[in-house]
């Protein structure tokens, strides 16, 4: 079966100064959850925005393949992209507090998607909005439709964002850190909601997160990014069973596990920060923070196969210790 979203060698430059994304390739299969993992500033969000055609001005996108279902997104005009966005592909964001327009009611903001893509009237669009608010677990949808964003909590606003994204039954939902700004208990609710919706609607989900706990819970397929590059990709089981790239292993070592971490021991961390990569940078972006770096790391490192369906980008052999 052909993937819902196929990306090959996606590159994004900002005004020719920063290479934010350097050759990312991934496939999102129908009905699966594909997690894009990495720490802040590694290019996850930029990759997602590039797929949606939502990059800010001054950003240049380039890709060998960028296909959504049967549509080649690289050849699509802005107008054509706008017709897909909100209809067949939808996106929700990290900042539920500011992602809704403060000047319009929930109902008006939800209805306009349906009116735009389905040519529906206001009445039909509001009915649909009420139905979806119910679906994402919001009680008294009729009342909520008449409310303004500032009258809702962060968790409720993110539910509204999800409901709004689902107005036109999208094939693909891109969720960019949808729970990062929320309380832990609300996080769990939202994740559970996404799982339920995915099961019921057969939604394909591209979930961006820095939280490996969320990955373990949600992902079928995982892509790990570092400094704009894909450093490892595998099924969730394979990744957690046999993490291969030093960065992936480092990330996993950062998770404190109750019972194995002692009180006086320092928590795991990877020293240093993600470097800013200028165009023309060669070699592994992680080498300055990597304890296993070799001279060969300064040359272009190719993706290698650790096992069928499990790729990693490192000079070390797959079974290094």
């Amino acid at each position: 079966m052909s993937p819902v979203l196929e990306v090959a060698n996606l590159r994004v430059d900002f005004s020719g100064r920063t290479a934010a994304v350097r050759g990312v390739s991934l496939k999102v299969q129908r009905g699966e959850t594909h997690c894009l993992v990495g720490e802040s500033g590694c290019g996850k969000s930029v990759s997602a925005l590039a797929v949606m055609g939502l990059l800010a001005r001054g950003a240049v996108r380039d890709a060998d393949v960028l296909r959504f279902q049967d549509t080649d997104l690289t050849r699509l005009s802005e107008r054509g992209m706008a017709r897909l966005r909100g209809d067949k592909m939808a996106m929700i964001f990290q900042e539920p507090m500011t992602s809704l327009n403060p000047a319009y009611t929930i109902g008006s903001q939800m209805a306009e998607v349906y009116e735009r893509h389905r040519g529906a009237g206001r009445r039909a669009a509001l009915d649909r909005a009420a139905e979806l608010l119910g679906r994402v677990g919001i009680t008294a949808p009729g009342m909520r439709l008449a409310q303004f964003p500032h009258q809702l909590s962060g968790g409720l606003r993110q539910r509204v964002m999800i409901a709004m994204a689902l107005m036109c039954d999208p094939e693909l939902l891109i969720a960019d850190e949808p729970t990062t700004a929320l309380d832990v208990t609300v996080q769990a609710q939202i994740l559970r909601l996404l799982q339920t919706l995915q099961r019921e609607l057969g939604l394909s989900l591209l979930l961006i997160t820095h939280d490996l706990g969320i990955v373990a819970r949600m992902a079928n397929q995982v892509s790990v990014m570092y400094a704009g590059e894909l450093v490892e990709s595998a099924t969730a089981e394979a990744l957690f069973a046999a993490p291969t790239h030093p960065y992936t292993r480092g990330l996993l070592a950062c998770i404190p596990i109750p019972g194995t971490v002692r009180r006086d021991e320092p928590l795991g961390s990877i020293p240093g920060t993600v470097p800013r990569i200028s165009p023309g940078f060669a070699g592994c972006g992680f080498r300055d923070r990597c304890t296993h770096a070799l001279p060969a790391c300064a040359q272009t490192v190719a993706l290698r196969s650790a096992a069928p369906g499990h790729a990693y980008r490192c000079v070390l052999p797959a079974e290094w210790t």
Binding site: L54, A82, G86, A90, M91, T98, N101, P102, H150, M164
Partner: protein, 305 residues
């Protein structure tokens, strides 16, 4: 919403009261009114008689209460200069100033808002810089100079428009244009700044992610949020235009309230001065109140507080 309106209205009323006191006090502080009415050649006895006849010998509080009570019933006293009731003078002059101010504001908004939006959408481009340069020039250009230039071009050389008076509506075109010019730079800059802010907001990214058309994103989602400071400043600008059009009314010989104010101040015609200050202050207060209410309509968060 009702509480919001009530609070604003009470505030406006308090400001009104303060203005009444200040406008009354200012005319009394400007010198001996009886002496200036009597003129430079009057004897001390003449001044004393005038002081008694005009009631200027009574305590100030008494004078204020009498004046305020009369003003409340529509009697603003008599002009010493025109020997006519002040309320009549104002009734004739106010419509001229209102017409001038409102047309000036209308022209300003029609020019400033689209240009401000355009500059914001092309932030940093040549078009943006050109628009901002024009705004700068407009701000630097004195209105009397612009008035005279327009009179020479369109009134004398081309003979398209009348250069003075208001025999027909065409008489308003040049003065309203000059007034608009003084308001355009601020309105345009505010529109641009508000739109630049709004266009980079997260909810605009959401609107784009929903696949909305560009015009809907810009004119519905961004402009609504950028409009609030513009509304506030537009109200203040209109207040300026109504009260501060003395130069323009003089240059174009328009019998408006600004010209009346200038005349009565220079001749110390204090009942007119008091009345004009009061009327302009009331207009200002009314405009500010209107702007507050419009902002409450634009931004639901204001209604809640």
């Amino acid at each position: 919403m009702l509480i919001f309106v009530f609070r604003r209205a009470v505030l406006a009323l308090l400001v009104c009261l303060t203005v009444l006191v200040v406008s009354f006090a200012l005319t009394r502080l400007s010198g001996d009114l009886a002496a200036s009415i009597a003129g430079p050649n009057a004897t001390a006895d003449d001044v004393a008689i005038i002081r008694k006849n005009y009631g200027l010998d009574r305590p100030l509080t008494q004078q204020f209460v009498d004046w305020a009570a009369a003003a409340a019933s529509g009697d603003l006293g008599r002009s010493y200069l025109y020997h006519a009731p002040v309320s009549g003078l104002i009734r004739v002059r106010l419509p001229v100033t209102l017409t001038l101010g409102l047309s000036g504001l209308a022209i300003a908004l029609v020019v400033a808002i689209p240009l401000g939006i355009l500059a914001a959408m092309r932030e940093g481009s040549a078009a943006d810089r050109a628009i901002m340069l024009v705004a700068l020039l407009g701000q630097a250009m004195p209105s009397f100079w612009l008035s005279l230039t327009l009179i020479i071009w369109f009134g004398l050389n081309l003979q398209w428009l009348p250069i003075s008076g208001i025999e027909s509506w065409q008489g308003y075109i040049l003065p309203a244009t000059v007034l608009a010019f003084s308001a355009i730079p601020a309105l345009m800059r505010l529109t641009r700044a508000g739109m630049v802010d709004a266009l980079s907001a997260d909810y605009i990214r959401t609107a784009r992610a929903k696949g909305l058309s560009r015009s809907k994103i810009v004119l519905k989602h961004a402009l609504r949020n950028a409009a609030m400071p513009v509304v506030s400043i537009a109200a203040v600008q209109l207040g300026f235009m109504l009260g501060g059009s003395i130069v323009i009314e003089t240059v174009f010989a328009l019998p408006g309230i600004g010209y009346l104010a200038w005349e009565s101040i220079s001749k110390n015609d204090f009942p007119v001065v008091q009345a004009v200050v009061m009327i302009l202050a009331l207009l200002y207060i009314g405009l500010t109140l209107l702007a507050d209410l419009m902002n409450a309509v634009l931004d639901p968060r204001l209604r809640a507080s």
